[in-house]
């Protein structure tokens, strides 16, 4: 046996991993060989040095975070992972929403309310909202009254109707979705047409995608068409209502809002819709924008004028329009960042500055989603960690006490990035 083998046996001897026979051999060599004994001592010293290193402890208990993240991962719907560890998914997801925070306790009822609200929204006069802010004088007034300014991020850029100000995050991130259309920016007219035919209405006019250089450029002709289509779609959705009256799904400006978490799981939906009522005090301080900016979440604020009748609008003053406007935010955020937003709003809820917090699942219509997936940009690597992937999220803030509003010029929702397997 050469010296290397003898040393290796000694190492295993220190670890007490030798057979009785080998152990006896090593002990015999130790008794005979001074150099071998010295090596033995050194190995013991090494062990002592390593084991004397102070032990590190995590600063906090990870249990809640881990469970929440795992649930979110499943909620985002990696197909290979959905069936494991969380059977049955409905139970665990429901438990997740109902555990811990007050907002989640009311997830199901809130979602039902959200669905009902959306149905109501679809039936309001949506054309008015566009007209209202298309009026430049009204827009100027709104900006002035609210101490806002036009986005100055691009020289010569004139915000389109409904577009008010780029948020505190300053420059939008490249490709951040915030068009007013309910369709993907990169959806071709043919794709849109096919989708609109699918929901029962073919638009008389389809505009091409807005300025490709401006990811926030709204497009207002299509929402009107889309909203019209939604009116047609609503009865269909109502017909699919469950016996307890909770609709299984609704359509929202070209996107499908899942009200059934189980179904959302199957369809790989994600939490990407946040809506709540806010007090004026909340809006004065607007902690939401602080959270968005503080977490480097690119966002675009847009106005949601109320759904008044034309006669009503005619008698409203400019300042009234501004005061009554609700706000929407088109964001691009990772699931972790979405969680941060929700936590902030939940805290505000406990301070009674936020109420009726609703967290929704929304995904593009199936056919459009499938086509959009094919058109996935090449620079979005498949191995991108799903936890780090930014996804479109829409936040609606309705002023408390305000009458029901028209559906916002919904920012376009890209399909969720396909979560890559690690």
């Amino acid at each position: 046996m050469d010296s290397h083998q003898r040393e290796e046996l000694l190492s295993a001897y220190v670890d007490n991993e030798l057979s009785a026979e080998d152990r006896a051999r090593v002990e015999r060599w130790l008794a005979e060989d001074a150099e071998y004994r010295r090596l033995h001592e050194e190995l013991l010293s090494l062990r002592n040095e390593l084991q004397a290193l102070p032990r590190h402890k995590l600063p906090s208990d990870l249990a809640a975070t881990v469970v929440r993240r795992a649930e979110q991962q499943v909620l985002r719907g990696k197909p290979a992972e959905r069936s494991v560890g969380l059977a049955p998914p409905r139970a665990s997801v429901a438990e997740w929403w109902s555990r811990g925070r007050s907002g989640r306790m009311f997830f199901w009822p809130a979602l039902a309310v959200a669905a009902a609200l959306l149905v109501a929204l679809f039936n309001t006069q949506v054309d008015d909202r566009d007209v209202a802010l298309d009026d430049s004088s009204l827009k100027d007034s709104y900006l002035k009254d609210n101490n806002l300014k036009y986005s100055a991020s691009k020289p010569g850029h004139e915000p389109a109707a409904g577009e008010l100000e780029l948020g505190a995050a300053d420059e939008p991130t490249e490709g951040a979705p915030a068009t007013a259309s309910g369709y993907r920016r990169d959806a071709t007219p043919a794709m849109r047409s096919a989708e609109q035919q699918r929901v029962g209405q073919v638009p008389s006019e389809i505009k091409s995608a807005p300025d490709a250089e401006d990811p926030f450029a709204p497009q207002f002709s299509e929402p009107r068409q889309a909203a019209g289509a939604m009116k047609n779609a609503a009865p269909d959705a109502a017909a699919r209502a469950t016996p307890n009256g909770v609709p299984q799904q609704q359509f929202f400006l070209g996107t499908k809002v899942e009200t059934n978490v189980q179904r959302a799981l199957e369809n790989r939906a994600q939490v990407n819709l946040i809506q709540c009522d806010v007090t004026p005090a909340f809006l004065d301080e607007n902690p939401l924008e602080k959270v968005l900016s503080g977490n480097k979440i690119a966002f675009k604020r847009f106005a949601i004028p109320q759904a008044d009748t034309k006669s009503n609008r005619a008698i409203r003053s400019q300042s009234e329009l501004a005061v009554d406007d609700n706000l929407g935010y088109a964001c691009e955020a990772t699931p972790k960042q979405v969680e941060t937003i929700v936590i902030e709003l939940e805290q505000e809820q406990s301070r009674r500055r936020v109420s009726n917090l609703i967290i929704g699942l929304q995904e593009p219509l199936g056919a459009l989603k499938a086509q959009a997936a094919e058109a996935k940009p090449a620079d979005r690597p498949d191995e991108l960690n799903a936890n780090d992937a930014q996804q479109p999220v829409t936040i609606y803030l309705r002023k408390q006490g305000a009458p029901q509003q028209a559906p916002p010029a919904a920012p376009e929702q890209d399909p969720p990035a396909e979560p890559a397997q690690p």
Binding site: S11, D15, L43, S45, E49, L50, P54, D61, A70
Partner: protein
Amino acid sequence: MKDDVQLIGEALDGDSAAFGQLVTRYQDRLYNTVVHVVGSCDTAQDVVQDAFVQAFVKLETFERASAFYTWLYRIAVNLAISRRRREKPMASVEQVREAMGHEPLDAADPPEARLEQRERACQVRQALAALSEEHRTILTLREMDDCSYEQIAEILNLPVGTIRSRLHRARMHLREQLKGVIQEYRT
């Protein structure tokens, strides 16, 4: 207290809180090991969290022939290694010290002893950081976490014979790195 198998069964039945108990049970032990593998407290926190999430999501694939902890370790070590490969190796004492933070030392010791202890720990950590990834990982599993050869073989998916020889080589390299410290210890 429920054992791992019971908690895993409950988690598979949809009780997320049961998995939370497993996280609480093993998080510090796992973290202490991963810190030494990746050489950074911040990275280790991320790795441990990711490992638990992955374990939860893939819990149904866990074959109960092995211990849950061994299986969890395997996930964490794989994540730690791939993470470490993506990041630059740390070379200087200061870099190692900064990444690892200050060690929790015994406040009862006199100041000189604490200083010496800190310096010593830093030297050992630097020597560990200078080892190859496979040597550092195997030494950490054996010395910090007291894993048996069989457990290490399972975690690293290697034969026990390979574990024995690799561990020996790792020790020889570390011995070279820490010659001065070892001699000081012996005297």
